[in-house]
């Protein structure tokens, strides 16, 4: 997957969690939790959806790397190579 494709997938998953969230003003380098109404259970929803879609397991120790949209993309890029 390209970086843009990964970004699109992440935004789609977040939008599915919160359909009323405005993602147009999202700053890629700022923490998602500071910009959106997301809590730890929502992050687990993101992890679960990635597991369902791409069969990837994200260990709990890596959760901090999902803090921003940018860090998510960087973290997922090698895991989604060839998808």
């Amino acid at each position: 997957m390209t970086l843009q494709e990964i970004k699109d997938v992440l935004l789609e998953i977040i939008q599915d969690i919160d359909e009323e969230a405005d993602l147009t003003t999202l700053q890629p380098d700022q923490a998602l939790r500071d910009q959106l109404d997301l809590d730890s259970m929502d992050f687990l929803d993101i992890v679960m959806e990635l597991r369902k879609r791409y069969k990837i397991q994200i260990p709990e120790a890596d959760y901090p790397r999902l803090a921003t949209l940018e860090s998510c993309i960087t973290y997922l890029e090698p895991l989604l190579q060839g998808v």
Binding site: E20, M41, L44, R51, Q57
Partner: protein, 417 residues
């Protein structure tokens, strides 16, 4: 009347509800008087097409779509009804402190829908439990619907569920009355909720028991208590929550008062998992009347529990005939014939639908009663059309459930203090 006596008298001051044919009391009452049923067929996983009562209401009026997705259907129904009840009562957080407010919710069951959904979910992933949702536990804890209400309203007083099969709604009202009388809370949000239409297992179990209703003329004809052709239950979702306050406080703030909970009783059959038992139901009604200091003839409207099962209806009719012998001005009706069986919500929802009789003096009809079963013959059974009565001042509400649980609540109009 002295202040202490008024302090121990508990009144209903607000009603929030969602039924298959309404999302507020005014609409509900109008549709009950018309006998308007919207029971229709749903296509349920594994079970196929079955008659059911599904509620349509503004699910995002009081919380975000995201929160509805996070929580349960029962929570969604409960949050709507709790907000509606408070609005109807004219209550806000300035009236009663949030830590002196209790939430008591009656449930027939909870977690069945969520568990079935998750098993179906992991069946799509070869039953690998890595795909089991992290939402499962908070969704299925038994206090879930009541807890979702406290989160939505910022209530910090006690909240919990009352598990009482299909007597649960009445049981929660009773709990609310008791907690107010004990001084544990100053305001009780008490009622019942059912999300059972989401569970294939509940329908399949009734079907296996030979107790799932159907009718060749369509789903609105399927629920037919007391009729010779009745063949079982129509499962419905629904909810109703009342605000309960002490009479003195309600009067002091000039609240609209629907009625006073003057009597109640609960008991157990102690004999069978599913078959109800009339003699014990009669004892339950008698005890509630005694506590209310009323004679059977003082009851103007008796709202039956009857669900449309062969034996259940006969048992209740036999109990009513025993207790209400020669009560010429007691009129009897059945709400399930119109809305189906809302399980844990049934008692409160059916009581709610009859409360406006204190104002309009009508008894809403029982529908689908084409040929009375001789074993269900009752004097003054209101069928087909609403019945205008001289004066409605008392309602007795029956609600019974599996494993032999019986509940009776009596509400009296407040017009003389």
């Amino acid at each position: 009347m002295d202040n202490q006596a008024q302090h121990n008298r508990i009144v209903i001051t607000g009603v929030g509800l969602v039924a298959p044919n309404a999302s507020n009391l005014k609409e509900f009452r109008a549709n009950l008087l018309k006998g308007h049923s919207v029971i229709h067929e749903i296509d349920l996983r594994y079970v196929g097409r079955v008659p059911a009562g599904i509620c349509t209401f503004e699910e995002t009026r009081y919380r975000k779509k995201k929160e509805n997705k996070r929580g349960t259907r029962a929570g969604c129904l409960g949050v709507y009804c709790a907000h509606e009840a408070l609005l109807d009562a004219g209550l806000d957080q300035a009236t009663y402190p949030v830590d002196r407010t209790g939430v008591y919710i009656g449930l027939t069951e909870h977690g069945t829908v969520e568990t079935e959904n998750e098993i179906y979910n992991i069946s799509q992933y070869n039953y690998n439990t890595d795909f089991w949702t992290h939402h499962h536990n908070p969704r299925t804890v038994l206090n879930n619907p009541a807890g979702e209400i406290t989160m939505s309203l910022g209530i910090t007083g006690p909240h919990y569920s009352i598990g009482g099969a299909c007597a649960a709604g009445n049981a929660a009202l009773i709990q609310g009355v008791q907690m107010l009388r004990l001084g544990e809370v100053d305001l009780a949000l008490a009622g019942g909720i059912s999300e059972s239409t989401g569970s294939f297992g509940i329908f399949a179990s009734f079907r296996a028991q030979g107790a799932l209703a159907s009718h060749p003329d369509g789903p609105t004809k399927a629920c037919r208590p007391f009729d010779l052709d009745r063949n079982g239950i129509v499962v419905s979702e629904g909810a109703s929550i009342f605000t309960l306050e002490r009479l003195d406080r309600a009067l002091a703030r000039g609240a609209k008062i629907y009625g006073e909970l003057v009597g109640y009783a609960m008991n157990s059959d102690a004999r069978d998992f599913v078959l109800p038992y009339g003699p014990r139901q009669a004892e339950c009604m008698t005890l509630a009347l005694q506590r209310a200091r009323l004679a059977p003839a003082d009851i103007d409207i008796l709202n039956t529990h009857a669900t449309g099962t062969k034996q259940g209806d006969i048992e209740e009719c036999s109990a009513i005939r025993q207790v209400f012998r020669n009560c010429d001005t007691t009129f009897i009706n059945n709400t399930k014939s119109i809305i189906g069986h809302a399980m844990g919500a049934a008692g409160v929802l059916e009581l709610a639908g009859n409360l406006p009789a204190f104002e309009d003096n009508y008894v809403h009809p029982t529908i689908n009663l084409d040929t009375i079963d001789p074993e269900c013959e009752l004097p003054n059974l209101v069928a087909g059309e609403p019945r205008r009565i001289k004066r409605a001042t008392t309602i007795l509400n029956n609600s019974f459930g599996m494993v032999g649980i019986n509940s009776v609540v009596i509400v009296k109009k407040i017009d003389e203090i």
